[in-house]
């Protein structure tokens, strides 16, 4: 039972008990310091208001606010530390669990009641489990399936088509004379300039046709090579061209690809070559794709078949 006399008395120690004395050795001085903090805080916060009004620089405003708040906080915290009873005080720690009787009563309440209403109805239980299961499954349709389209085959294709003209991000078509040897350009198929998936690096390494791998005899007309720009590691755009070694570098995790060898990775975590786009030059000298990439571009995924 609560003792109301005890409740009425806020502090049970005699007033001169050392535990009730402030922590500060010199409380009067502590009070002065805290007062100084508060006055300083008031000034700084007022200065923040004024500087905001005057549209001062972000630093000046933020500086006043930060310093003012800090002084205010410091004052309050110092008050709590130096001018409150120093203690130490103690409180008892209670065991959290109930007595054995209480525990048994609780277990009984849960288990026995369940036995009464549920245990005797195995058929209903099975039906309920089925209903629960089906709820979970059908709720997943709107919660998950509506979020986006099924992947289908979309990771296997890019907008590049047979005969797509090679254009810049702004849509300007590229002719065979546009790049010097050593030149590099990010290009797209004419139907999708700027496409994240179709982005392709166009590099001119020579003036005569270049073969990077057997089977790619016609892919590099007039010294032009085109590789998917999407890193096969984690999909960053491979942007750095090291002309000296004829290598491409991905800035994200430093995978290196050897251009002459069909962009096979020679260093770093990338597992596969950058797919090469077969190029051709049409009658008017425009660069075109012979076809889409012969394999999915970019990072690996479960459905990707081995190539």
């Amino acid at each position: 039972m609560v003792d109301h006399e005890e409740l009425a008395r806020p502090w049970t120690l005699p007033p001169d008990d050392p535990r009730l004395q402030p922590y500060a050795k010199n409380p009067a001085r502590a009070e002065k310091v805290i007062a100084a903090c508060f006055i300083f805080a008031i000034l700084c916060l007022a200065a923040f208001g004024a500087s905001y009004w005057q549209a001062a620089s972000e630093r000046v405003m933020g500086g006043f606010l930060a310093v003012g708040l800090f002084a205010l906080g410091f004052g309050i915290a110092a008050w709590g530390k130096y001018l409150t009873p120093r203690g130490p005080f103690e409180e008892p720690r209670h065991i959290l669990h109930g007595t054995q009787l209480e525990q048994e009563a609780f277990q009984a309440a849960v288990v026995e009641r369940a036995e009464v209403v549920i245990g005797r109805r195995p058929f209903l239980i099975k039906l309920l489990a089925m209903a629960g299961g089906i709820t979970a499954v059908v709720m997943a349709f709107p919660l998950l399936r509506s979020l986006g389209p099924l992947p289908g085959k979309s990771l296997f294709h890019t907008p590049w088509r047979k005969g797509s003209r090679v254009v810049t991000a702004s849509g300007r078509a590229i002719t065979v004379d546009d790049l010097e040897v050593g030149g590099i350009l990010t290009v797209f198929p004419e139907q999708a300039p700027g496409s994240a998936v179709a982005q392709t690096l166009l590099i001119r390494v020579a003036t005569e046709p270049i073969v990077t791998q057997p089977g790619r005899e016609t892919w590099g007309p007039a010294g032009y090579l085109a590789f998917s720009k999407v890193c096969t590691h984690a999909g960053c755009p491979v942007t750095l061209y090291e002309e000296q070694f004829q290598q491409l570098l991905c800035p994200c995790h430093q995978s290196l690809f050897d251009i002459y060898d069909g962009a096979v990775p020679v260093f770093g975590p990338a597992p596969r070559p950058l797919p090469q786009l077969p190029l051709m030059v049409d009658d008017q000298g425009y660069l075109r794709a012979q076809a889409d990439y012969d394999q999915p571009i970019g990072p690996g995924f479960w459905e990707r078949t081995t190539t």
Partner: protein, 531 residues
């Protein structure tokens, strides 16, 4: 309060409002009674005001995390008033010349305007970002405190799990927030995230497509989705979990380090009101002040310099926030071991470091309290903390695990290091591949040995008093500890129970609990006190 409360529940119930002159007590007294009449909170409220907080600096770490979160919410609400979660393409006509006429997403435009045009916007935005970094950091350090002192042991396993979840959510929300401005760096981060989700066997493609609304970069829905996750869903869960965390803390009471008068069955320190409340309120203001000060003076994520995200461009300074760097480092040093066969591909070079490693990491964190109990056979409740040296094996293992993540963190700057040290990237890469296994072993072993040494030394770690050495005329040397100088710290008193409201008063104070209040001795000699 005193006069009214003394009458307790038998206070006469008057049907008419007493005249002003007849009302008793101050306005505060009367409002407290008003509330108690309706909610019955007097008893619990009193207990709460008496709650004891052990005084130790390391208990402040969790507070830093809590107050950074408060700052995150406050600054975040400010940001939502200006930020537009839309990837619609617009053209910049503002006053920042380098971007003039550039195409960009509305999200990026609004963040640039928030930074350069809105008065006090830059400070708020930078303070938000700093608060995120400090939030995650404080959680991590707080977690180390809990780990190395064994505060996660029974009965606090649940609160440890809540804490691990909070760490996960803080990291996730930090990453998502980082992606919102739609600048070149954050866009690249999102691209990598898409690839990471894609790398999950069996369901990865579906998850990635569902989240982004299609193949990367999606149909423009990702920014609005990330926005609502970032400002509502995750913060709401975090707030609820913080609530649960603090509720458990109050329910189970603080742990404390061993010391005079401190036992398994008590808590020694200063009371909630006024000591702790004043200190902690002041501390909240100080944390906010430091974060605002950082926001004012320390530039962070100057997105107007990075330019808008364009999928085929990349910034060379691709560096995530510090708490993502260990994953980036793991991605860098992982060998290119793609699995391909049976008509399927598992990009292990991504799945292992970016999916399996975090899964194992957090799985290990969740499981640790149970694993440790299993291996030490110690299933007893503990309220007195270990010093790290008291448990050399735990300290060694923990230090080793920490070292592992530190090395991964370092590995996220392989390119910077290679440039800086003028060595080949290959050498740096291979060094890290070796270091990531060697350093944890060495660090763990050293921590283990040092702990054992320290534990064997009595009084190690205590501040020593000056010794006065005297030489006798015979040439003998005598050393004697100096007298404590006045003010060398307050003398230790036996703790006194805070204002008591139960008959257990004297008994608790004297360290033994009598029959009328105590029942059944608990497993670790902790006695139960009935309220």
């Amino acid at each position: 309060m005193s006069t009214q409360a003394a009458q307790g529940p038998t206070r006469p119930q008057s049907r008419t409002r007493p005249a002003r002159k007849d009302r008793k007590g101050s306005a505060v007294d009367r409002s407290l009674n008003w509330i108690d009449d309706r909610l019955g909170v007097s008893k619990a409220g009193r207990t709460f005001m008496d709650k004891i907080f052990p005084d130790h600096w390391s208990f402040m770490l969790g507070e830093i995390a809590l107050y950074s979160f408060v700052v995150l919410v406050a600054t975040g609400i400010f940001l939502t008033l200006y930020y537009i979660p839309s990837s619609k393409e617009v053209i910049y006509h503002g006053s920042y010349l380098p971007l003039k006429g550039r195409k960009m997403s509305e999200a990026y435009l609004s963040t640039v305007n928030l930074s350069l045009k809105v008065r006090f916007g830059l400070v708020m935005r930078q303070a938000h970002h700093w608060a995120a970094d400090v939030f995650v950091g404080a959680i991590a350090v707080h977690m180390c405190r809990v780990f190395f002192t064994g505060a996660f042991r029974r009965p606090r396993e649940l609160n440890w799990a809540v804490g691990v979840t909070l760490l996960t959510l803080a990291i996730v929300n930090g990453f998502i927030g980082y992606s919102l401005p739609g600048d070149l760096i954050s866009g690249t981060g999102l691209r990598i995230m898409f690839s990471i989700i894609l790398s999950i066997p069996l369901i990865g493609t579906y998850l990635a497509f569902f989240l982004f609304g299609g193949n990367y970069p999606g149909n423009g829905i990702i920014i609005p989705r990330l926005f609502i996750i970032h400002v509502l869903i995750v913060p709401a869960i975090i707030a609820a979990l913080i609530g649960a965390h603090l509720f458990l803390l109050v329910r189970q009471k603080h742990t404390q380090f061993a010391g005079p008068g401190r036992r398994e069955d008590n808590v020694v320190g200063s009371p909630m009101w006024p000591n702790f409340m004043l200190k902690t309120t002041g501390f909240q203001a100080m944390v906010a002040a430091v974060l605002l000060g950082l926001g004012a003076f320390a530039q962070i994520n100057p997105i107007w310099q990075f330019g808008p995200y364009v999928p085929y461009k990349v910034s060379y300074a691709v560096q995530p926030d510090w708490y993502m760097a260990w994953l980036d480092g793991a991605l860098r040093i992982m060998p290119s071991w793609e699995f391909a066969g049976f008509g399927h591909t598992i990009p292990l070079e991504v799945t292992l470091p970016a999916v399996v490693l975090p899964g194992l990491t957090f799985g290990l964190f969740y499981a640790w309290p149970f694993l440790e109990a299993r291996f030490t056979g110690d299933y007893l409740p503990h309220h007195i903390l270990d010093r790290p040296r008291d448990r050399p094996r735990r300290t060694g293992l923990g230090a080793g695990i920490l070292a592992f993540y530190f090395v991964l963190f370092g590995a996220s700057s392989t390119d910077v290091l290679a440039n800086y040290l003028h060595v080949s990237l290959n050498a740096v890469l291979w060094s890290f591949r070796v270091l990531v296994f060697v350093v944890p072993v060495i660090v763990g072993f050293l921590a283990y040995e040092i702990s054992k040494e320290l534990a064997a030394l009595p009084d190690s770690g205590k501040r020593k008093r000056a010794m006065i050495v005297e030489r006798t005329p015979q040439g003998e040397y005598l050393a004697e500890p100096a007298e404590p100088r006045p003010g060398d710290g307050t003398e230790e008193l036996e703790p006194e129970p805070v204002p008591v409201h139960m008959p257990v008063a004297e008994l608790v104070g004297s360290g033994s609990l009598g029959d009328e209040t105590g029942t059944e001795a608990g497993p670790a000699g902790v006695r139960q006190v009935e309220r």
